[in-house]
Symmetry: C2
Subunit: 256 residues, 2 copies
Amino acid sequence: MSRTIAITNQKGGVGKTTTAINLAAALAANDISVLLVDSDSQGNSTSGLGIQKDADLRTIYNILVDDMEIADCVHTTEVDGLDILPADKNLIGVNLELVGIENRESILKRKLLAVADKYQYILIDCPPALDLLTLNALMAADAILVPIQCEFFALEGVSELMDTVDRVRESFGHPLQIEGILLTMYDERTTLTRQVAADLREFFGQDVFKTVIPRNIRLAEAPSHGQPILMYDPGSKGSEAYIQLAKEVLANDQKR
Amino acid sequence: MSRTIAITNQKGGVGKTTTAINLAAALAANDISVLLVDSDSQGNSTSGLGIQKDADLRTIYNILVDDMEIADCVHTTEVDGLDILPADKNLIGVNLELVGIENRESILKRKLLAVADKYQYILIDCPPALDLLTLNALMAADAILVPIQCEFFALEGVSELMDTVDRVRESFGHPLQIEGILLTMYDERTTLTRQVAADLREFFGQDVFKTVIPRNIRLAEAPSHGQPILMYDPGSKGSEAYIQLAKEVLANDQKR
Ligand SMILES: Nc1ncnc2c1ncn2[C@@H]1O[C@H](COP(=O)(O)OP(=O)(O)OP(=O)(O)O)[C@@H](O)[C@H]1O
Ligand SMILES: Nc1ncnc2c1ncn2[C@@H]1O[C@H](COP(=O)(O)OP(=O)(O)OP(=O)(O)O)[C@@H](O)[C@H]1O
Ligand SMILES: [Mg+2]
Ligand SMILES: [Mg+2]
C-alpha cells in the first residue's frame, strides 16, 4: 500500500513545486518507489524534472477528462525510483469541462487505486487555488503537507485552507490527516520570519515539521537544469534540508 | 475617463498584490484618484490596506453574483485618493456560480463603466490563475501589467499568459495593450536573476519597465501593518522603486 500526500497551499509562490520535486527525489534516494503527480496547469513539476511538454505528451488531463489509465501516462525521470504523471496547459479548462460530471471530485482517487501497489509514496503538486484540481488531490490523499513562507499574506490564507480540509472531512466523509506544516524560504535574519514562524508553531504545535527549508538560491537554479537539488547540488543547504525532511516524513509515518 | 490596468500573472507569489497596493498608493500620491479592485479570493490587497473582512463586508462577489453596483461596495482607505473594492473568500465559488450566465466574462467591465468618471486609474489585482476572475479583469482592462520574478518557473508561464492575451484580443475583439513587464524581487547579486532578466528584455524589449523592484524586506512587512510602503517606510528602497514606477507609468500613458 502507498501513502498519498497532497502538497497544497492556495497562496502562490510558497514552495509547493520545489517541495514536491525535492521531497519526491529525497524519498526515492531512500530506495522508495515514488510517483509525483503534477496537478497544476503551469506544469512546473513536469518541467522542473526535465520532461518536455510536447503536443502529444500524455498528462493528468487525459486521466481526468479522457478516462485514460495512470499507467498509460506515467513517465520515468532522471531520478531512479521516481516516476511522474505530468501536467500541461490543457488543464486550464478542466474546472469547467468537468462541470456536471458525477463524482468529479474523486476521479484522481479512483485512478490512483490502480497503481497503489506500485508506489510506496504518491506526492501531488497542487495549483495555487482551492479549485476542483486541488479538491481531487485532497480526496485522493491520506494527508496534506502545507509549505508556507513566513510572511504576512501566507499566514492569512492558512485558516481558509484548514476550513477546506474540514469540509472535505465532513461533507465527503474523507479522513484527511495533516502530514505537516513546512516552513520554506526561511531567512532567520529577518524579524518578520521569526515572528510569523512563532505564530505558526503556536497555532499548529507538533504539526510543524522540525525541518525548516532555508532560502537557498541553488533551489531556484536547479529546475532550469531539469534536476532536483540532490542531483544539481547535493552539498547545498537546500539539498540537506530536503534530505532531512524526507527522513522526518519517513520517521513520522513509521509511528502512525 | 479612466485608465484600467489588470495586474496579472498566473504564476504564484511574483508580487501582484504588492505591486497593486503600492503602485495604487504611489499614483494616489500624485493627486490622482485611484480605485484598486481586489479580484482574488485570498483578499490580500484588501487586508494589505487594513480593511477588516467582516461577515457583512460588501465585496466584488456582490458585484459579480448579486448584481450590486460598485459605488455600493467601495471603501475608502487610509491613503488619500485611494478607494478599494474588496474581496474575500466568498469569491472561491464564483467560477462555478457563473457557469451558464450570459456574457459572464464582461460583468466587471460593464460595472466599472458606472465609476469610470470618478477615477483616473483603476488597478485590478488578479488571482494566480487564468480563470473567469482573471478573464473579467482582462476584459475590463485597457492594458496588463505583468509582475515577474526573475526565476525559471516564472519565465515558463509568460508565454501562456501572452497566449491568453491574444485569445482575448481575437475571440472577444478587445484591444488589450501591454502596460509593461515589471521585474520584481530583483536580487542583482545572483546570476539567475541577471540571466532571466536578460532573457525577458530580449523577449519583450521596450515593454519591460525601466524601473525594477528590488527584494526589500520592508515590502513584506508593510501589509502586516495594513499600510502601503509609502506610509510604512517612505525612505526604503521598496518605496522609492514604486514611486519611480508610478512616474514611469504616468509618463508612458501621456505618450500614448
Ligand atoms: N527555499 C528556497 N530558496 C530559494 N528559492 C526558492 C525556495 N523554494 C522555492 N524557491 C523559488 O521560489 C519560487 C516559488 O517557488 P515554487 O514555484 O516552488 O512555489 P509554488 O508554491 O509551487 O508556486 P505556485 O503557487 O505558482 O505553484 C520559484 O522560483 C522557486 O525556484
Ligand atoms: N520586492 C519584494 N521584496 C521582498 N518581498 C516581497 C517583494 N514583493 C513581494 N514580496 C513578498 O513576497 C510574497 C509574495 O508577494 P505577493 O503576495 O505580492 O505576490 P502575488 O503574486 O500577489 O501572490 P499570489 O500569487 O498568491 O497572489 C509576499 O509575502 C510579499 O510580501
Ligand atoms: Mg507550483
Ligand atoms: Mg496576490
